[in-house]
């Protein structure tokens, strides 16, 4: 029973905060609601016994992605009047996209079939009593599918480097600290070492 109560609490808050994300007038509140939604999703993962996924959810989405969202959104100077004008103009496109998505969901739901027998799967989920899910995930990612995992990591790396090279501009007038020059200085020329006896201080 207690599990059911927690499940409904997490689910209700999750759906409620998801609705808050899209209905809130203040974008910062939207991001905060999004964080709450992530958090409750992590709670649901814990209830499923997937504690590793839950923690990764909090670390990656709440701890990193949402921080950057919040960072950007907080610095925006939002003109609500302009925002509303855009709403009316783009409402038609929005409705079309939403309609297509809804149609897809309805289609999928109608065609959804559950086979009665457990199908033969390539990687059956290991028994949770024997292998905890951190180990199970590790086996899948780093042992069985290590090349695919590495390749997806490489793709992300390339994407990141691409984004940096596209946006990075070197300003000639930028006076950055040249650490090598500073480190190469002779300490005798720039430092005077005072030997102070304990308790006497420097005047």
């Amino acid at each position: 029973m207690i599990e059911a109560i927690f499940f409904y609490v997490f689910s209700a808050v999750l759906i409620g905060s998801a609705a808050w994300v899209i209905s809130s007038r203040n974008p910062v509140h939207s991001v905060l609601a999004l964080i709450l939604a992530f958090f409750n999703a992590a709670g649901l993962f814990v209830m499923l016994g997937a504690e590793f996924l839950a923690m990764i959810m909090v670390i990656v989405y709440v701890g990193a992605v949402a921080v950057l969202f919040l960072f950007v959104v907080m610095m925006l100077d939002i003109d609500f009047v302009k925002l509303k004008a855009g709403l009316v103009k783009n409402a038609f496109v929005g409705f079309i996209v939403g309609g297509v998505l809804l149609a897809e969901f309805v289609w999928m739901y109608l065609r959804w079939g559950m086979s009665q027998v457990t199908p033969h799967v390539m990687m059956p989920t290991p028994d949770m009593a024997q292998v905890n899910n951190t180990q199970a995930l590790g086996m899948v990612l780093y042992t069985h599918y290590v090349y695919l995992f590495q390749i997806s990591g490489l793709i992300l790396l390339v994407a990141m480097i691409g984004a940096i090279t596209l946006t990075h501009r070197r300003r000639p007038d930028n006076r950055t600290q040249k650490v090598a020059i500073q480190v190469a200085r002779n300490p005798k020329d720039v430092l005077k070492v005072e030997k102070i006896t304990s308790g006497s201080g420097v005047h």
């Binding site: 701890g63 921080v67 919040l70």
Partner: protein, 353 residues
């Protein structure tokens, strides 16, 4: 009459519902209090210790008026903060403004749920303890960001932004340090990490990671020399400039209990928590939690010592240290450690392989 009332209460207490739900909740609550009350006292006396140690290093007296040796000073400070008026700026976003300090304080407390203070003395001995700690410490940035934004003040906002960038930057290298510890122990459970016995050469390899961890911990807790989010000289008081009374006190408590938490993490991950130092079995007569407390105090002393010694970093230097020094170093060192462990067949799970 009185007898029947106590019997009724006993009956209620022993009823099915109570045994199933009320009793576990009550015991868990007591268990939590066992951790929270000493923690709050420790926070109070950490502020006192900091002032005394700083005073000694700067050849001053420090607090010495309230009570013997000024020992009641933290209580007096607490009372003063309680008695003051809570001022909320008119332009502030009230809800977020009030929620931010609560969140900061709450997060600094909930992280203690997984810290083992002695063998088996832990509120919740979960399998993914390290990840839990990492997750909670990465949430700490929200309190400060929200405070900076909700205050509707330039100074507070700049403090909040600085803090966010700083904490996100140092989290990366901290993550690599955690991975290196996991590499040598093969478990995410904190008790298992403490119990893992390393040969000397493994500890030697972990030592640079320990240094990086302590420095990153300074940056994560916004302590000197990385206290730019507060930066009195440029930002007045940084993110908490608009806060007063209890809302300020919660930030203050949160900061110090985060310091204790980071020290606790350091002692669990690197210093062997409740185990006697250097594996000397004769020292095991001292109870484990005392060793834990001593190790935490040592790391806290290092925190305060650093504050008394080093000037504040400039912001670009701070970012350079995080991204251009710590990140490449921890990354290379992690690969190096993995290679050495693999070569010596010392990776967990391949013993005797």
């Amino acid at each position: 009459m009185a007898n029947s009332v106590t019997e009724q209460i006993q009956g209620l207490w022993n009823s099915d519902f109570s045994v199933a739900y009320v009793q576990p909740t009550a015991f868990a609550g007591l268990h939590v209090l066992e951790f929270v009350v000493p923690l709050i006292i420790a926070v109070a006396y950490l502020t006192y210790a900091e002032r005394k140690v700083l005073a000694a290093m700067q050849m001053r007296q420090g607090p010495n008026v309230v009570g013997p040796f000024g020992l009641l000073q933290p209580l007096a400070d607490g009372l003063k903060l309680l008695a003051k008026e809570t001022i909320i700026p008119s332009g502030a976003n009230r809800g977020v403004f009030l929620f931010a300090p609560m969140l900061t304080f709450l997060l600094s407390l909930v992280a203690w749920a997984v810290i083992p203070v002695n063998a088996g003395w832990v509120v919740s001995n979960i399998n993914v303890g390290v990840l839990y700690l990492f997750a909670i410490s990465s949430l700490g940035v929200y309190g400060i960001l929200m405070a900076g934004w909700a205050s509707n003040s330039r100074y507070a906002f700049l403090g909040g932004l600085r803090s966010a960038a700083q904490m996100v930057s140092y989290e990366v290298s901290m993550g690599f340090v955690l991975v290196s510890v996991l590499l040598t122990t093969g478990s995410l459970n904190l008790t298992a990490i403490v119990d893992a016995q390393h040969p000397f050469w493994v500890s030697l390899m972990l030592f640079p990671m320990f240094i990086v961890f302590v420095i990153s911990a300074l940056a994560e807790t916004n302590r000197a020399p990385f206290d730019l989010p507060e930066g009195e000289s440029e930002l007045v008081g940084g993110y908490n400039v608009e806060y007063s009374s209890m809302t300020f006190a919660l930030f203050f408590l949160g900061e110090y209990s985060n310091m204790i938490l980071m020290s606790g993490m350091t002692s669990v991950l690197f210093l062997g928590a409740w185990l006697p130092p250097f594996g000397i079995s004769a020292l095991a007569v001292v109870p484990g939690f005392i060793w834990f407390a001593l190790k935490v105090c040592f790391v806290l002393f290092v925190f305060i010592w650093t504050r008394a010694t080093l000037p504040r970093f400039r912001y670009d230097q701070l970012m350079r240290l995080g991204w251009k020094v710590f990140l490449p170093f921890t990354l290379v060192w992690l690969v190096f450690m993995a290679a050495v462990l693999l070569y010596n067949h010392a990776l967990p799970g391949m013993q005797g392989g």
